[in-house]
């Protein structure tokens, strides 16, 4: 029971970011499991919004591969149009949303559209989906990503989902509501924006991960909080609940 996978720790850390009673733009995969775990532990009154038009207070009875799977519709609180839930997001009524990505930079801008490689070639990725909307309009957002140097450049090659842009004051200058990334949760650490500069800095190292390892996996001169914390490992209760949500480890292995 004490052994856990890096993904399990990421999900537990994501769950701990949610507060009870919050309105959450849930997303899929790891964030979905984080939301379900939070609901079964410290945030039973959290409300889940899904961009396909679904609002849920209770968890789906089975593991979901997509938000439109039938178990997410059965016993939902409400089903309707995308603009019903996106309108709430645009109004500023959504507390927190989760996004993933291919690249994140030192100001928390996320790229899921295209990566420019050496020379002229490009790597085409699926695109924004709702991620750009969550990053633009939620009161805060959380990024979940594997921590690799190529995924953590100083500046992303394309801003799909705006974080703090070029730093302090940028969001206001371009017309975005306050919001912005509250945390970047990786398989090695947790980064949060410096309150003054809005640059991401290391605030917590996961169990067994060294500072040097995180620095080497980050493409800019990473600032370190003092003191830097150790991410608490998942509790036995968190692990038990999480494994009951995904018994075959589809998203957690």
């Amino acid at each position: 029971m004490d052994d856990f996978t890096p993904r399990e720790l990421m999900i537990v850390a994501a769950a701990r970011e949610l507060r009870d009673g919050e309105i959450v733009f849930v997303g899929m995969r790891l964030p979905l499991l984080g939301f379900l775990l939070a609901k079964r532990t410290h945030a039973p009154r959290a409300l889940g919004l899904y961009e396909n038009g679904v609002i849920r207070e209770t968890p789906a009875a089975e593991l979901l591969y997509t938000m439109s799977d039938l178990p997410n519709i059965t016993r939902a609180t409400a089903c309707g149009e995308m603009l019903m839930v996106m309108g709430l997001l645009a109004q500023g009524r959504v507390d927190v949303g989760f996004i993933g990505g291919a690249e994140v930079d030192r100001f928390g801008n996320v790229n899921t559209t295209l990566v420019r490689r050496e020379g002229k070639s490009i790597l085409r990725l699926p695109g924004s989906g709702g991620a750009g909307d969550i990053a633009s309009l939620a009161r805060r957002f959380i990024v979940l990503m594997p921590h690799e140097r190529r995924r953590f450049p100083a500046r992303v090659s394309y801003i799909t989902s705006p974080g703090y842009g070029e730093g302090r004051g940028w969001r206001q200058r371009v017309g975005l509501p306050p919001g912005g990334p509250a945390a970047v949760i990786t398989d090695k650490a947790i980064l949060r924006p410096d309150p003054e500069t809005k640059e991401l800095r290391l605030v917590s190292l996961h169990p067994g991960v060294s500072l040097e390892e995180v620095r080497a996996s980050t493409g800019w001169d990473l600032q370190i909080a003092d003191p830097v914390e150790r991410t608490p490992p998942p509790t036995p209760q968190e692990l038990r609940l999480l494994r009951s949500l995904d018994p075959e480890g589809v998203w957690t292995r």
């Binding site: 439109s68 995308m82 996106m86 924004s128 750009g132 309009l137 017309g175």
Partner: protein
Amino acid sequence: MTRKLMSLSEAIGRYVADGMSLVMGTALEAAIPFAAGHEIIRQGKRDLTVIGPISDILFDQLIGAGCVRRVIAAWVGNVSEGSAYNLRRAVEEGVPHFVDVEDHTNLTIALGLHAAALGVPYLPTRTALGSDVARGHPGLRPIRCPYTGEPLLAVRALAPDVAIVHVQRADEFGNCHLWGNLGVTLDAVRASRSVIVTAEEIVSADLIRSDPNRTLIPGFLVTAVVHEPWGAHPSPVVGYYHRDHAHFREYHERTRTREGFLAWLKEWVLSVPDRSRYMDRLGPERRRALRIAQSALSAPADFGC
């Protein structure tokens, strides 16, 4: 009222022409009109513009089959598996040919269709301000609010030539009952010049009128109605069948190479004449496993007087 019931090949042959713009996949991962998409491929339509919020492999199939010139979408991929290999080959290498991608977010697709549904040229939003999605975008122009002076994006109205939607049940006049997550379906129908409906069941007009609040697509907006059971497989339809996750996984594995995709296309699209033969190929066991196991009926609503 006009009866609009016809076969899928007739509907696609009559109402989808080379060079048209089509909105599909409007309920996101559910009720994706795969049967209609496969008929478009079999009829060899070319130079299409495909429009939609996300597309769970349907746009990838149309791109790989060479039907698409332009994509206007927020996301093109395989929701449970990741990348769309045909999109990648088309954009990165021009295989089978280059396609233009006009990137959006889900909200800007929804607002573009909503603008057309309201008959206005654009709608303003704050989403995507400062992002590279909005940079130099022909359909997302920076404006100032005439009241407050604040910066906004003007999302250009998106008025497709054709909307293709899959629904649970329709009558022969095109009045449709649909339920579950709706995504941008209703705006897509109102925004488009013609509408092709594929339906799991064709029911009487009397049954439709028993529950007018569920008639989310009124028949006078509909151009063609097609009876197409399993018409959304491998995507799910509420009340009928589950998402076929294994099919999405298999598509992902087999389409990593161009040769793999062409073999897949031949097996599942080009060598089957219609959806009923496609479902034969899927086999009775797989169909049984995908059918909903347990009904959960809603309480009836009283419309008496």
